[in-house]
Amino acid sequence: MNFWVSLDQWAFLVPLLPALAFVIIGALGERLSKLEHGGWLAVLFSAGSMVLGFLIAIGEMLGPGTYVDVRYTWFSIPPSSTGFRDGFSLVMGTLVDPISALMLIVVTLVGFVVMLYSIGYMHRDTGLPRYYAILSLFLTAMLGVVLADNLLMFFLFWELVGVCSYFLIGFYYAKPSAASAAKEAFIVTRVGDVLFLAGIFIYFAMYASADPSWAASGFLFTKGNAAFLPLGQGVNPTLLTIAGIFLLAGAAGKSAQFPLDAWLPDAMEGPTTVSALIHAATMVAAGVYLLVIGSLFLGFTSTDQLAIVAVGGFTTIWAASMACVHTDIKRVIAYSTVSQLGYMVLAVGAGFAMVGLFHLYTHAMFKALLFLAAGSVIHAVTTQDLFKMGGLRKKMRYTAFAFLAGAFALSGIPPFGGFWSKDDILSSVYSQLGTHPEYWPFYLMALATVFLTAYYIFRVYFLAFEGPSSREPGLSEHAHESPWVMRVPMLVLAGMAIVAGLLVFIPPFATLFNPTLTSPAFPVALPLNVPPSYPLVDIELSALSVALAVGGILVAWWLWGNGRLASMPRSAPARWMRETLLQRYYVKAAYDWIGGVGVYSIARASDFVDRFVIDGTVRGFERSFAGISQRMRKIQTGVVSDYAAYVITGLIAVFVIVLFVAPWLVSRLGGG
């Protein structure tokens, strides 16, 4: 075993380092005030984690095809004749394969730069030890998700990621809106999570009945290097479909796909750094990662695939349309995230797991960048309202450059990162249209979204960075460029946004996108399509999508560019439409109604039943006993003759029982 492969054994250290940071910062708390309240400690540990992660990823690039799986038994029941024949185990283990290596790069890199950026961005806040501790815990959890070799561990860290997100969204917990957004995020993702759990159970049933040793192995994705997928082939396709739908539900909750998308824009109540790390680059991508794993290891039926394509395709345009009207800079980017995640889901659904992962990787870079740049702006002007900003390019050159790089990448302008991956998705899905004509509407939605994407992100750019210096007098005047701890991360990510797509043309890196899974029975020969190849038809498609993107930029410039405030269309339908979009198609209101009125009314009604029907019955017993006692009291007359009458009545009752009742009972019950 050479050095690079042996590195994989130490993969568990990658999540463990931030966990150490969590423990240290959590334990010492404010005593670390000299170290930026633990911030530098968090940066240090995440840097260590990044270095190790990169080394492991490089090892994976240099030694492809060898996956190392390290396990620790977490929960085990020994074999028994009446229970599990081979025993039952739940394990914690790390599996380093190309997918997790790629995710390692994304998570540790973005994690590190965001941690560094936080030093500057969060400097003025209080409660920083809590912030850095939970952010470190988040990194641990996210890396746990990435490295998990089995479904249970995946789910475990998946939940932990969710709770870290909950705490970070609610970081400014004294703000009612932040507390409310945190709650919403937790509960909505929880809906997806329990369905995901149901999916895990179904896979368990399928695999454990096909191979009893699977229960003992601890829900592993792979056995040796072979996916367990073949086990699922023989089973009831309905069951497999349902499991896939449940998995999709879990992914939709985490990745904010329709209809569980409402929480992500509200999650922007958290600090911008959190938005960049968790709600753009890593956690929300975990849903896509789950679908990738499902597609590669667990298997989807064609019904599942259609459902995934439908959800992903529809979400792209659904979220992008809302992004076009919102005026909060972070919310626009958040809708954009939802929309871009839709692309990834679409790709995975169409059978191109690695293409989806490719977009995940580029998106993580440029979306984190956009958030950091937005954060830099917010840091400078202390508002998030686009219509109060303006002309910031002159005062914040680095930030403007970074944002522009991100915007180009997002719009899909070559050679920026986003172009390659988005184009790859579109052409991949297009290639499936022949055999799957039912994908057509979703393909068209995705294509139309290219235009909307370019439009809304450049609307943001023009409103914030171009035009006259200030629409809100006095706001932008104090704006100045951010300190180096914030600039360096932005520049790193800007670099990545530019070159991320080109990197896949370097062969060692490309191996991460072409995993050699030695499974003998991969269900379909997956067309991996990474890096993208360009036969003639694809060139035309690429030209079309680039044209759409450029068109979007031009429309944005025509409406908002050069400091112009285009007169809004004032007709009633337009106003109605804008209102609908601003109200997010009233989905949020519907959810609030379900939670606040629907469920809560049921709960109140149940409470009423509990108090007055169930407990009322109990009290009724009590009261009737009291009443009977009141009446019984009256027979205590004190008159001797009456007592004698009771005694004799009792005596006669004994006679009746002994002479008649008991023999009858004995004869009925047959001896005793």
Binding site: E159, L160, A174, P176, I187, A198, F201, S606, T617
Partner: protein, 489 residues
């Protein structure tokens, strides 16, 4: 076998309890010493434990002792004690909760000797229930738990304490009597040689016809009220609301576990035939309890009431897992009982401290507690998250395996408890949003965060929560050294 650890432990607890009653002002120190000795003894019990396995198909016990006690003709009542993995984890729970309660209520000023004595007596009773292997002996301890709890609620409780204490006592006592009738009928109908567990176990197959089913219903009623099962649960919220914090901790942490333990030891193990007949009833009740407890928690304003109803929900999952009749289910049920004991104790401590600090437990009338009492808020958050099944905390492995076992046995019915998990998350998260977050309101002028001894008490529970959440095998290792994996269910 040489050292009669159980008798030694019982004796030390009895001596400690009596000494606490007599100790006057220094009762708390005696109680603490007793608790520490108890924990050490538990540790030694774990140290030397190995499960003897089955003998002629009858499960055996470690550290078992039998001494003739009452012998009238054919009726043999013995002092028989012993432990296996099932009781061992619950004994550990008893030890942990005992020391945590003693530390939490360290500052009790109202007749401290009686208070600490009653706390120790409750734990003594629970320990007795967990080790007793004779029907009468078991029942003796079972009832012995009721009395101190009655006084704890009735003397140290809230404004409506007399009603709650009497309701608690009458309710559970009626159930106990039904259970005793069932247990004695079991022994007599099966013509067991004695009232010992092993002879009743061996004699049970002699029962014919519908008799085992009826016996099981009688036992289940007795154990179920302790659980508590819907619709026999209404004593629980009242008792919790009125009980002092230490009382709530013991009530939720230990007393509810007696029901689960009894159901496993004297119900399922001893009357499998009756259990098989009645299994559907158990399922229905379990599902109803799960849904009902959770939905009702959502509508509660009183923090303690909310936690009390969530106990109904969790114990419903325990009942479900027990009723599944599978090895995995039983392991999960025992783990979940342990987990719930720790977590609900923690939550009741935080609820009690909330009341001490803010003079109210009404959730909507307090806000932003996290910014004035961060330590309390942290403990409450950890407790809530553990209770809603967050991974890496203690409930998760238990709930995961319980639901997995449910899926194995009942397939899509598992969706009911799964969806309820969302509601459970909902009410905890909503409580935290209202009580801990948001702008401050309802904060009295002089606010102090929880005192250091309370921190220690909660810290013990939090440490246990995290330890077994991260390394559940530490507990499962002991649970499986018991008949759960081998008896022919």
């Amino acid at each position: 076998m040489s050292v009669p650890w159980i008798s030694i432990t019982l004796a030390s607890l009895v001596v400690g309890t009596v000494a606490t009653f007599l100790a006057g002002r220094s009762a708390r120190w005696v109680a603490l010493a007793t608790s520490i000795v108890f924990l050490i003894e538990i540790g030694l019990m774990f140290w030397g434990y190995s499960w003897p396995g089955l003998l002629n198909g009858i499960p055996q016990f470690a550290y078992s002792e039998t001494h003739a006690w009452i012998s009238i003709g054919w009726l043999n009542i013995n002092y028989t004690v012993g432990v296996d993995g099932i009781s061992l984890v619950l004994i550990l729970l008893t030890g942990i909760l005992q020391i945590a309660t003693v530390l939490y209520s360290w500052k009790e000023e109202k007749r401290p000797n009686a208070w600490f004595g009653l706390v120790l007596l409750t734990c003594l009773g629970c320990f007795g229930v967990f080790v007793a292997l004779d029907i009468l002996f078991f029942f003796l301890f079972w009832e012995a738990v009721l009395v101190p709890m009655f006084f704890i609620i009735g003397y140290w409780g809230g404004p409506n304490r007399r009603y709650a204490a009497i309701k608690f006592f009458v309710y559970t006592h009626v159930a106990s009597v039904v259970m005793l009738v069932g247990l004695l009928a079991l022994a007599f109908y099966s013509h067991a040689a004695s009232l010992d567990f092993s002879s009743v176990y061996a004699a049970e197959p002699a029962l014919a016809g519908v008799v085992p089913a009826f016996l099981f219903v009688a036992l289940f009623f007795g154990f179920g009220v302790k659980f508590p099962i819907v619709p026999f649960h209404t004593w629980l919220p009242d008792a919790h609301v009125e009980a002092p914090t230490g009382g709530s901790v013991l009530l939720a942490g230990l007393l509810l576990k007696l029901g689960g333990y009894g159901l496993i030891r004297w119900g399922i193990e001893v009357i499998p035939n009756g259990f098989h007949t009645d299994q559907p009833i158990l399922f229905v009740i379990a599902f109803v309890s799960i849904v009902w407890g959770s939905v009702l928690s959502l509508s509660q304003r009183d923090l303690k009431r909310m936690v009390a109803y969530s106990s109904i929900n969790h114990m419903g999952i325990v009942l479900l897992a027990i009723a599944l009749n599978s090895e995995l289910g039983l392991v999960a049920a025992l783990f979940l009982m342990f987990a719930h004991g720790i977590v609900s104790a923690l939550l009741f401590m935080t609820a009690g401290s909330t009341h001490d600090i803010f003079r109210t437990r009404d959730i909507p009338s307090i806000g932003g507690a996290a910014s004035v009492t961060p330590r309390l808020a942290t403990a409450m958050m950890i407790g809530s998250l553990a209770s809603l099944g967050l991974p890496a905390l203690i409930s998760f492995p238990a709930e995961f395996t319980a639901l997995l076992a449910t899926w194995q046995a009942l397939a899509y019915w598992v969706l009911i408890p799964l969806i309820v998990l969302v509601v459970t998350a909902g009410f905890y998260i909503w409580m935290m949003q209202r009580l801990l977050f948001g702008p401050t309101k309802g904060i009295p002028n002089s606010v102090h965060d929880i005192a250091s001894l309370e921190v220690v008490a909660m810290g013990i529970l939090i440490a246990v929560t995290v330890l077994f959440g991260v390394l559940p095998n530490l507990l499962v290792h002991w649970i499986v050294m018991s008949p759960v994996g081998v008896w022919p269910l």
